[in-house]
Symmetry: C2
Subunit: 510 residues, 2 copies
């Protein structure tokens, strides 16, 4: 394999833009080309998640080639949901490594802010499993369910978890203040974080990356430059939450990272800093564990210890991450790479404790179903990349004869594996919406809607019933039965109980 080097990089300001998607692409390319000595390219590899539905444009690769004044030049689009930019980089890497092309321009972009939040939420939810989507699940809802599971597994109290997530949000917003391309360049306080509304418990608005317009571009070349891509890897994971072995890690990241480290011939300890896919604050923590920066279940401790801060031992998202830089889905994978390159070249205003010579970018597609890891190094420090590379393990092909899952009706009882209460619901669902992953008495997992939002807890037993293809659950609870009986008798009991609780909490905190 030929070594693949990095020439120019560039991006647009992320945020709300009046420019069209092709104009954003052109602006990013202008910057990437102007910061490079290479002025000619052989091909365009474009990452975009869903311009068809976001802006009504198909055939985006040809469109961009024409807009760049490059009609004739080979141009193709690569897509893997929200990691589309990283996927384009991956395919372009192979094109240059093969010797088929010498200089390839990689672009990533998306235009999203012109649509309503509910329309955008619907398009983004298209990447998750159909059955889970039909229950009303959205990306934040599933992320919240993963978070609740993480909290339970690693025995964090609810308030402790919230403080940790707040730390991640505050860190990334603080880092973003140094980034002129970031959507948000203002720090946030604890008060701001805790006063923000729940999107899906336990995730608040400040735990979720924003809706953003933007584009980024990278020029890859076979000619030696100061920076080389020393490792690159991709992995997939199950689309649905209910098909996973683990809810607290992403196998797709682990597979991608193993390859990237093997190829670069380094261990995770040798990474100086990383840009990771913090579409949700808890995902940054899980990602640092999947990348083996910290042991599983210890990522939150690293956040608390300040290890991932700008001045820490292993800065995570010095650019501000998706949280403050913004998340134009197709652009993000390329933008992360741009940030890593700018940091390694000393062009970033976010100064690390010590000069970095090796950075990592991690991108997540969908709910961690299609992830990428890329390692960039200073060429003078890089080891002999090619010799260390061995082919990845092979995967046997086992196509299901029929993909249709047997429609065995689940039993009418089960146990809550994880849950959330969703406050920003997709069209057709009224908030608050209780969602839970129920482990059926028979074994399989089922995503179900709750009859109400009270008494939710991991491990709690529920009644399960199927209505028109969807599942509904009701928590088995003696208290509930008693309450309902009392309700019938007096009517206002719930409000009385709520008042009592408040009093008790005050007493405790006093």
């Amino acid at each position: 394999m030929n070594a693949v080097y990095v020439a120019g990089v560039g991006m647009t300001k992320f945020g709300r833009s009046s420019q069209s998607l092709t104009e954003l692409f052109c602006e990013a390319v202008s910057r990437a080309v102007s910061t490079s000595s290479i002025q000619d390219v052989d091909a365009l590899y474009i990452g975009a998640m869903n311009p068809e539905e976001f802006t009504g444009d198909s055939n985006i690769a040809s469109q961009v080639a024409e807009a760049l004044g490059m009609t004739g030049v080979p141009a193709l689009r690569v897509e893997t949901a929200s990691s589309a930019g990283a996927a384009a980089l991956h395919a372009a890497y192979q094109a240059v490594a093969s010797g088929y092309y010498r200089h390839v321009l990689v672009l990533g972009g998306e235009k999203m802010t012109h649509l309503s939040t509910s329309a955008t939420t619907r398009i983004l939810a298209g990447v998750i499993d159909r059955q889970e989507r039909q229950c009303g699940a959205t990306m934040p809802a599933l992320a919240a369910m993963i978070t609740e599971r993480y909290r339970k597994k690693y025995r964090l109290s609810r308030s402790h978890l919230e403080r940790v997530l707040c730390r991640v949000a505050m860190k990334n917003h603080l880092n973003g203040t140094h980034n002129p391309w970031a959507q948000f360049q203002r720090p946030i306080s604890e008060e701001i974080y805790f006063s923000s509304k729940f999107v899906s418990t336990p995730l608040r608005l400040y735990d979720c990356s924003p809706i953003t317009d933007g584009a980024a571009a990278v020029l890859l070349t076979a000619e030696r430059t100061d920076l080389v891509i020393s490792g690159i890897g991709q992995g997939t994971g199950p689309l649905s939450l209910r098909e996973r072995d683990s809810f607290t890690s992403f196998r797709a990241t682990q597979v991608a990272a193993a390859r990237a480290y093997q190829m670069a011939g380094i261990s995770p300890k040798e990474i100086d800093f990383a840009e990771v896919h913090d579409a949700f604050t808890p995902f940054e923590i899980i990602c640092t564990e999947d990348l083996e920066f910290f042991p599983a279940g210890k990522g939150w401790q690293a956040v608390e210890a300040g290890a991932t801060s700008l001045g820490g031992a292993l800065p995570i998202n010095p650019s501000g991450g998706l949280k403050s830089r913004g998340h134009p889905v197709g652009a993000t994978g390329v933008a992360q790479f741009v940030e890593v390159v700018e940091q390694l070249r000393g062009n970033s205003k976010a100064k690390l404790k010590r000069e970095a010579s090796r950075g990592l970018a991690q991108s997540t597609g969908g709910l961690g179903s299609n992830n990428f890891v890329t390692i960039v190094e200073r060429s003078d420090r890089s080891r002999t990349v090619q010799n260390l590379w061995t082919p990845p393990p092979h995967y046997p092909v086992r196509p299901h004869v029929s993909v249709k899952k047997p429609t065995v009706p689940p039993s009418d009882e089960g146990r809550i594996e994880t849950f959330t209460v969703l406050y920003v619901t997709p069209d057709g669902f009224l908030p608050p919406l209780a969602l839970a992953l129920i482990r059926d008495a028979q074994g399989p997992l089922v995503m179900a809607r709750g009859e109400d939002i009270s008494h939710l807890k991991i491990g709690r037993e529920v009644y399960l019933r199927q209505v028109a293809g969807g599942y509904f659950f009701t928590v088995k609870s003696h208290l509930r039965k008693v309450r309902e009986a009392l309700k019938k008798l007096i009517g206002e009991i719930p409000s009385l109980r709520r008042k009592k609780k408040v009093v008790r909490t005050k007493r405790e905190s006093a």
Copy 2:
């Protein structure tokens, strides 16, 4: 570059299917894997044009990996409109040629028949230029305008052109009778062709490829097999009709072909047969000229002489082509490759005059805006591929500062460059709809709607007016003025004139 070989290939029956898109993918993969000694793969490269809008599924790469029982394996989707399958093949080629992967499974598929024709037409029209789309132009309409221009340029009478197109349709339907995977496996007669309705003049229903469901799969490998990919190339062309230098050839095919031939170290004369993208019958003719099988403007003569028939000197579309095999857009580029491989391996029931050792597949994205050419040869006949490969010419990057075209109002007069009358109109437009490309007195080309469908002819002068962002034209005609004046006077003149004509025709034929 490592040589890239072909292991197993497979496809589903094309047509209307009750299976889901992922089920179609699984079926095609089962066949490809069962015909190969390789059972393990390193990655999936998937071509699909628009599953988001056709079936409401995003994140198709992860979905397919999961459905194949291959969760974990890297999977990405590549898209270049209707050539998406060929684009996936192209990217997978580079992945294997680089040595990054050894065995890559390439998939192409689309599910389209469950939607109404108008919904499908709208989705397919998304690939054409926005301004042209807003006039009511569809893929068949633009193809028809290209055809009319070809007829005029190469001085074919209207009836002569129709006979030529009928020959292409009949040939491909006849070839399809040998193909068990084809959507239509019945020959058509001249009567059937000429009794079929106009979709967009001069194109009839039997000039257009059908709406189809289907999938195809190819296993590429770095391990030597009987067949090798000796040449592969991609090129783009302008999205809009009005930005083209030529209306009678596709630059994208020419660019792609030049590279593929150079890489394989062969001339077009050395190709034994080809599968080309006959989404419309005239495109097969133009394609054989762009591939330099025949000189420009002579392709129709080759059809008439039978050179492109199964028993001819250079059989084109022995599989039946898109016309009779069907055209599930994302699948087609891979299916063409499957057909070439099956023909080279002697597995095809469509027997050529002499045994073939070298076949070519050509795929078209959008209105010829993103095209691919791939050459497959018997490994024992292939020359030293790598040594013949030189890097392609470089393209300078010249991003427009602003993509917005200056909105100079065109002058109020112009001349018809080409035209069509569209009978299958998109939603919001009533048939028959006259569309013409008008060369403005100032020079630029404008797509415009006609006030009526009479007096259309290339070169005719028109009045042009702009209404709510769209353009309308009226043919300048003394006859029209006279007729309108007479109409005012008597009223029924047009019907009188029509009767007279009928009488005269009868007298002549008597």
